[in-house]
Amino acid sequence: MEAVLFFLAAIGATAGAIGVVALRNPFYSVLALIAHLFSLAVLFLLLTSAFVAAAQVVVYAGAVMVLYVFVVSYVGSGHEPMLDPVPGQRLFAGLLAFFLFVEISAAVLSSALKALGTHGPDVPAGFGDPAAIGTLLLEKFLVPFEASSILLLIAAVGAIVLAGRRKQRETA
């Protein structure tokens, strides 16, 4: 049962990722990314991390992707030319990516991490649920938690500064 669910979610995630890269229209790319994110949430659930899965669906597939959809519909789906400006760009990209995949897989699988071939240790029932993550965030990782909230605030202000209208410059 778990294996079936894993392979279904893995196929969904891979198909979504390929869709993001291969589809011409950026709007369809965003929709493919949403499918990819939902499949990843299933994988997170299989890894007994319920809170990360919920955050993935609510924050990522919900909020961030809505932002993408707004910007795509504002900017419009500009048509990328089909031809490569650099000859053989796709071929080189494919070769590089293939070697990258082989290298990462070999590096991880040939490492001395003995537990990689196992299912992972048995964990208590509350592993990765909101209470456990909240305790970790507010007790052990309080400073990173606050720092990330300040980072989000700075990013929001920065986006307004970048994308906002500049009246003085437009009239000048």
Partner: protein, 99 residues
């Protein structure tokens, strides 16, 4: 399922995102491919957290999500600013900073 399956899947997704960054030219799709790579890293973090049996890796994944949200907000702000100035949305044409 063995944890190594998750790690190999994460490597595959990271690679697909890297291909996208190498071959696409719309800045918006490049941002989407960056999201793919960040999510692949997230999958690896959560898988390693499960392998060790320690939930601290999931906090790492949440922080990566925060970073991804910041990156999206700033990147989309830049794209809107590029669009407002009626510049082409194509990373091959936006080469003023090239040395």
């Amino acid at each position: 399922m063995n944890i190594s399956w998750y790690i190999v899947l994460s490597a595959l997704l990271f690679t697909i995102g890297a291909i996208g960054i190498l071959i696409r030219r719309s800045p918006m799709v490049i941002l989407l491919c960056l999201e793919l790579m960040l999510n692949a890293a997230n999958l690896a973090l959560v898988a390693f957290s499960r392998e060790v049996g320690n939930a601290q890796g999931q906090v790492f994944a949440l922080v990566v999500m925060v970073i991804a949200a910041c990156e999206v907000v700033v990147g989309l702000g830049l794209i809107v600013a590029i669009f407002r100035r009626k510049l082409p949305l194509d990373v091959d044409d936006l080469r003023e900073l090239r040395g």
